[in-house]
Symmetry: C2
Subunit: 366 residues, 2 copies
């Protein structure tokens, strides 16, 4: 049995069962267009991040819209499997893949599509090489450089060059290039600040590229930049692609990126108004999340969320009363942790259901 | 296609793909036994909360173990549907159900099993009555009293009595009794503190029961108490059942409830050790959650989680080094928001897979 909710096409938004994950199709298309228009005539291209929507159909929609490398990133091997199954021919896995079980799955996947994987460790690269030889495939590797996220990656240019030189000689491995992620140290909506910060954080990637090339090794891919720096990285010479995911559905933590519009939200119904100044909604952390704070109420600046538990949200209605049965839309603080809690995305245009997408890579944690 | 991970029975825990939601079967059975043994010979019984495991097979396992009302709670109508489909004959829905679409589903469900629903509003009760008449069914109602959780429910005894009197006359409605939830105002592991706090918060329920009975209305159900007060509410005369869910799989936020053992955890693999004092694991908030803080590393007090993002956790390994490929288990701060991010629970005994449960009510947000 399945418990997925699947409204019929054309259902008015007011008739949807709640909570329901809905996407405003005009806003989604707008967000896709911003990226496509920006990258269309640049050497740098977008590589959309599949982890943010977990839906091959949405990845293909962006690829068809233009300005991309005609491939995606995936956070996980299982997610990459779903993307390839869904018709994507080129996947970069942005995490280190170390378990033998998973390396074997990578090799299987490389029989279906071009597979590139992040690496920061020579033993790991050797294991991938050995497995790729025995499977008769070739795996692309990008060396990850740590550029301020304080997560995986080699820690400096020298270590990067050393790893690249060692990797380049391995059989059944194609050294493709380098990769990094960045987070702003202090979030700023000011574009000049973003440019300065983006350039500062990405500069080590340009230095690493040069250092590798000075050893006579070709660097095809320099994959770096995020939603917040898409228009910074896209203008830095030497960057070949940027990874962006949040821009598509958006979240409150990125609300300073005013180029993009909030597309995904959770529709909720008020189920109780126990006392003045307060109302209770039927959507909680289980389906919206509260990792980056409580959600925003879409297009209702007069109402705030004051608290959440697993299955309920509490509205502060001091400024405006709500009634039992009223419906509101919640914009999450972080949407990529929200999407995989759902089975379907209900796309709305002109107040009616235009499309229902299966979130095919939902639950691909491994 | 499905992306669910389903290891074969007998697979050694060391061979499981990660991240993987595993349950220690000895600890699960221990937690079930604590409740069953406590309630076996009392008038008060346990009504297990399905929202914490979303798995009818686990609910039935606890019912078979004993000491229960032979029914469960559900947070949502869609969750109740899965529980009834899975063989549970008696479900109390612990939220107000107000949308007509959902009331109709309640009525359909009442043709399959005994259905009881929380209510704090007369208009809502009238709508349920009208729908139940037209569907030819009877729906049980428990009036919710607000006892410190600051969520739904009538706010005082007088309002409660008034609502009960109005409800009792409605056709196709069976007034069953009253319900409440509580949270400790200051968390204490000291049993005497728990008893004092539990009694203080539950006393209004006893007062409401008496006030209703003094109006000549019978109160069959007084459903109140939680995992933290299971042994307090169970000794209060007039309480007929307690709702407990967290006790089964457990979480760090309830670690002061030392009667219970941590049963559920997410198995993770170290994928990178980029520098001294730090390691990166392959499980993040997307599959573990961090709503009540970062997870605990099970049986490894020498290692702490210092940070999490959607798909990674960062270990502080200042005290002990970790290597790429090492495997650890993460105990979440709040497990009920974790469970529904997974499709299956992998039960482990003697280091091998004993059972794989489908989380059939996963994703039942509505």
């Amino acid at each position: 049995m399945t418990s997925s909710y699947r409204p019929l096409m054309g259902t008015p938004i007011d008739d949807l069962d709640t909570p329901c994950l809905v996407v405003d199709m005009d806003n989604l298309d707008h967000n896709m267009s911003v990226m496509a228009d920006y990258y269309e005539n640049r050497n740098t291209k977008l590589r959309g991040h599949g982890k943010n929507h977990k839906t091959p159909a949405i990845a293909l929609r962006q690829i068809n819209r233009g300005g991309t490398v005609e491939g995606v990133c995936s956070a996980k091997v299982s997610e990459a499997e779903v993307m390839v199954h869904g018709g994507i021919n080129n996947v970069m896995i942005t995490s280190e893949i170390v378990a033998q079980l998973k390396i074997d799955r990578l090799c299987n996947l490389a029989k279906q599509a071009e597979i590139i994987v992040a690496c920061d460790n020579l033993d790991n690269a050797r294991n991938i090489s050995r497995s790729a030889v025995s499977h008769g495939v070739s795996i692309g590797i990008v060396v990850e450089l740590e550029t301020g996220l304080e997560r995986c990656g080699v820690q400096d240019i020298e270590s990067g060059v050393e790893l690249v030189k060692a990797i380049s000689g391995l059989p059944a491995i194609q050294f493709k290039g380098i990769m990094s992620h960045q987070m702003m140290s202090e979030v700023s909506s000011n574009k000049e600040d973003r440019i300065l910060e983006g350039k500062r954080l990405i500069q080590p990637m340009i230095d690493l590229r040069k250092a590798i090339e000075s050893e006579g090794v070709e660097v095809e891919i320099v994959s770096t930049g995020e939603t917040w720096s898409y228009d910074v990285a896209g203008d830095i010479e030497g960057v070949t692609e940027i990874q962006g995911g949040t821009y598509l559905l958006m979240e409150t933590a990125y609300d300073y990126m005013s180029d993009f519009q909030f597309a995904a939200s959770v529709l909720t119904t008020v189920i109780s108004t126990p006392r003045i100044g307060m109302a209770v909604g039927d959507a909680g952390t289980r389906c919206v999340g509260a990792i980056k704070g409580v959600p925003l109420v879409y297009q209702r600046p007069d109402i705030t969320v004051s608290g959440m538990d697993a299955d309920h949200c509490i509205f502060d209605t001091s400024n405006v009363p709500l009634s039992v049965g009223d419906r509101l839309r919640l914009i999450p603080g972080q949407q990529d942790a929200m999407i995989s809690r759902w089975d379907t995305i209900v796309g709305i245009r002109d107040q009616k259901v235009e499309i229902v997408w299966d979130i095919l890579a939902r639950g691909t944690h491994s």
